[in-house]
């Protein structure tokens, strides 16, 4: 450890590497933590920091990550690696150009993005997607904390529109027996459609609820092992990393609206059970809609946001040409986030001038 420590000290001093200080510093702090102390009151500081915060999300994503390897082979790891490398390069480049620290947000974006992709997607499309997502979804807005849209979703939507053939036509059966994908590189049995597409086409589903719950139905890499997603999501809520309001409002409104819709229009609106257990709903509700930067920060705003997400998801799934509505509704509501927050703030905090006039009039 001492040797590495000294190495960093030397690196800091090299003149030609001055420009790359953010990178060296990121690696340095990644290994050794900080030596910074408080300067005034409060003299103590919570042990929580952004590194821990992001790592908790990564830990919560591990069940889905392992499931994606099990169901779709080691190619999943290749996809994740491409995502991390390209995303990391964009983040680091911007840190160097702007001269600020490398922020840890890309640790989460870089993992969420591959998990919402189809398992056989060409690796170069993964690279293009994450590049677009981090560049146009985050960095052009000013970096972590300032982006309006969820960067992983920006990337996902870009490639959905740019490369529709790769994104919605090629679905593969997951490995489900024995060691599954741990013995394979990539899936090879082509399947006709994902459960959502079958529902849309009015075809009877060949999968039971248990199959859907455990991930035996085809879908995006990390979205199908729903048991793991729920465990991860609850873990994040229990550790206070994720606010419970958004997933509860989102899933609750999907349940209520699809129950009602299913009674009125059973042909077009699928039953609540199918809605909850298909597509990227659970993954989106726990991991993407809850992104603190792009979702409302007011408490009532979170409820409105979640309920609207549910409404749009049902509408898009049932009445549009697309089979899945989760990512479109999240991106749409990301755009409405500032509006929701400012309306709630205006209602909650009445203008002080009006208030004081009222008080003075009373006297």
């Amino acid at each position: 450890m001492k040797k590495i420590h000294n190495l960093f000290d030397k690196l800091y001093k090299i003149e030609s590497l001055k420009k790359f200080k953010p990178v060296i510093q990121a690696a340095d702090f990644f290994l050794f933590g900080t030596e910074e102390t408080t300067t005034s009151a409060p003299h103590i500081s919570d042990n929580m920091d952004i590194k821990r915060y992001m790592i908790m999300v990564v830990i919560a994503l591990l069940p889905s990550t392992f499931a994606s390897i099990y169901y779709y082979g080691w190619r999943a790891v290749a996809i994740i690696l491409v995502s991390y490398i390209v995303g990391g390069i964009v983040e680091v480049t911007f840190a160097v150009i702007r001269g600020h620290d490398v922020e840890e947000g890309f640790l989460v974006t870089g993992l969420i993005f591959p998990l919402v992709l189809p398992p056989t997607i060409p690796l170069w499309i993964v690279g293009v997607g994450i590049f677009f997502g981090t560049f146009f979804g985050k960095e052009v807005f000013g970096g972590t904390g300032k982006n309006t849209f969820n960067p992983a979703l920006v990337g996902r939507i870009f490639i959905t529109i740019a490369f529709p053939v790769f994104m919605s036509a090629n679905w593969y059966e997951p490995f489900t027996s024995g060691l599954g994908g741990f013995l394979h590189y990539a899936p090879d049995v082509v399947t006709s459609a994902t459960p959502l597409a079958s529902i849309k086409a009015g075809v009877e589903l060949p999968y039971s609820y248990i199959d859907l719950f455990l991930g035996k139905a085809p879908g995006s890499m990390g979205e199908t092992f729903r048991l793991g997603i729920i465990i991860g999501g609850l873990f994040l809520i229990a550790t206070k990393i994720v606010n419970w309001r958004i997933p509860v409002a989102y899933l609750g409104s999907v349940f209520v609206l699809s129950s009602l819709g299913n009674i009125v229009m059973p042909e077009t609106i699928a039953s609540p059970g199918l809605q909850l257990l298909s597509g990227g709903l659970l993954f989106g509700a726990f991991f993407m809609a809850t992104d603190p930067v792009s979702s409302p920060f007011t408490k009532i705003g979170k409820w409105i946001y979640g309920i609207c997400l549910g409404l749009f998801t049902i509408l898009i799934r049932s009445f549009s040409g697309y089979t899945e509505g989760v990512m479109f509704s999240i991106i749409l509501m990301n755009g409405f986030t500032p509006l929701i927050d400012s309306i709630i703030l205006q209602i909650k905090y009445k203008p002080i001038k009006k208030r004081s006039e009222a008080v003075l009039n009373e006297r």
């Binding site: 919570d46 821990r52 208030r355 008080v359």
Partner: protein, 496 residues
């Protein structure tokens, strides 16, 4: 007496189980050789000195008094000779202080007119005893008397709250403060205060987990109907007037003003025991019980120290050597650190904290299980286990990052504002009506938002900066807060 159990749901955070909590052991500290006694201690202004260098003074003798301004007398706390009168920087203010060289004797001179049968004393006599003992200068608004000891008169007091909840990371132990006969003396102290502030309703606020104390107080006060007991969770910052009063009385607090301005006096338990000492035993305020908190002490004992004892006299006895510690008086969350060990302990001292200066870097700190890492989030093993040795030091445990709106600061904020929102307005220098509407002046500076911030932003400091700038632009609290309240004693408060 009625016992109410009450929740505290607007924010707050329970600091518990930190290593270095004061234990139930009291030590009488020896009389130090020299004392430095500041002429401004506690509530009120600086008093004018009435002794001269070379003069012999007795412990308990008044050495400074100002009958015309809001203040309480200051006493010599030892027998000895006045050495000099000098200016010191005490609690961030330049004040004059009297340096006294001790003759080594312990005796003190009792107050004139004190009586075991305090009931037979007139209200005026009691008030005189309280004023002359200096007890009236304790806590945030002082104790009102016919003398100029607070901004209001005793008849104007509608509510008195006595608190001993223990919400700081390190608290003075109530078992020490109310040991044995001290408990009934405490109750007598309450009755004395009731005689002075006869219009007031009294409230006791204690930690709801301290069921033994609740039971004992209930037994002692069972036939008293002017007092109510509130059992509250030990969440920081419940002991601050600004949070305690709305929680118990359901009253709105005029942030930035004194509790006395709305007719409320909040006192700590030690104050009430010292009221008893002054009236019944005639003991002036020359001694305080101080707890030693934090890992820097050889033993986390309580000490009875004479007012004016220099911090060095305590540290030379108890502070661990070879390591560097930061010394803080009373609160690690709101108070500045002590810059010099030559500063004296004054009347307001109750906890002296030695916090470890930790510049050490921790390898892979973000990956550790965190068996003794305190956090508002539940992201460390510590929140699952019952541990009693959470570490606490000055390290910030992370790097400065941009705000990701995680919402922790809003969750813990005790005055229901959105700290990160206001902080962003201040940082962008958008100091307009909007930020006032969002409640920038509601911030009471409890600093909890800065404590929990995952991005290590000093949110509270930025908010304070915004408040100062707005006040400079004549948009201060006198235009934002004042019009909403019928404040009493406002002129006196502003003259302080």
């Amino acid at each position: 007496m009625k016992v109410n159990y009450k929740k505290f749901s607007t924010g707050g955070y329970e600091f518990k189980d930190f290593k270095g909590n004061p234990i139930n052991k009291v030590i009488d500290m020896e009389i130090p050789q020299t004392l430095t006694i500041p002429l401004k201690q506690g509530f009120g202004g600086e008093v004018s000195v009435i002794v001269k260098p070379g003069e012999y003074v007795k412990a308990g003798q008044i050495i400074g008094i100002d009958k015309n301004a809001i203040s309480s007398p200051v006493h010599s706390s030892i027998n000895g000779i006045v050495e000099e009168i000098k200016t010191i920087k005490h609690l961030n203010k330049e004040v004059n202080a009297v340096v006294i060289k001790s003759d080594g004797t312990k005796e003190w001179q009792p107050l004139e007119g004190h009586s075991r049968e305090w009931n037979k004393l007139s209200t005026e006599q009691i008030q005189k005893l309280l004023y002359m003992s200096g007890v009236t200068s304790l806590d945030k608004s002082g104790i009102p008397t016919i003398f100029k000891s607070s901004v209001i008169s005793p008849e104007q007091v509608e509510n008195v709250i006595v608190y001993g909840i223990g919400t700081e990371p390190f608290n003075i132990s109530l078992s020490v403060l109310l040991q044995d006969e001290r408990k009934s003396q405490f109750v007598t102290g309450l009755k004395i205060l009731k005689k002075v502030m006869s219009n007031a309703k009294f409230y006791l606020a204690v930690n709801k987990k301290n069921s033994k104390l609740i039971q004992e107080l209930n037994n002692l006060l069972f036939d008293v109907d002017w007092i109510e007991l509130y059992a509250l969770p030990p969440k920081y910052p419940l002991e601050l007037d600004e949070v305690l009063i709305p929680t118990i009385l359901g009253k709105k607090y005029p942030y930035g003003y004194l509790a006395a301005n709305i007719g409320v006096i909040a006192l700590s338990m030690q104050t009430v025991t010292q009221v008893y000492d002054a009236v019944v035993q005639g003991k002036p305020l020359i001694e305080r019980t101080v707890a030693l908190g934090g890992t820097g002490w050889k033993e986390n004992v309580h000490m009875k120290v004479r007012v004016g004892t220099s911090i060095e006299d305590i540290t030379s006895l108890y502070l661990k050597e070879h390591e560097s510690y930061r010394l803080i008086l009373n609160s690690m969350l709101t108070n500045k650190s002590l810059t010099s060990k030559s500063l004296p302990m004054d009347r307001t001292s109750s906890v002296l904290i030695a916090l470890k200066e930790n510049k050490e870097r921790e390898v892979f700190s973000w990956l550790r299980a965190g068996k003794n890492k305190d956090s508002y989030s539940n992201a460390f093993l510590c929140s699952l286990m019952k541990v009693s040795n959470k570490s606490c030091d000055t390290n910030i445990h992370g790097e400065y990052r941009s705000c990701i709106s995680c919402g922790f600061c809003e969750d813990v904020c005790p005055v229901d504002i959105i700290p990160h929102l206001i902080q962003k307005y201040v940082k962008k220098n958008m100091l307009d009506e909007e930020v006032i509407d969002y409640g920038i002046f509601n911030c009471i500076g409890c600093n909890l938002c800065s404590y929990v911030c995952t991005s290590k932003i000093d949110v509270a400091k930025d908010i304070r900066e915004g408040q100062e700038k707005l006040t400079k632009d004549e948009c201060g609290r006198d235009t934002i807060v004042e019009p909403y309240f019928d404040l009493i004693g406002l002129k006196e408060f502003k003259n302080l």
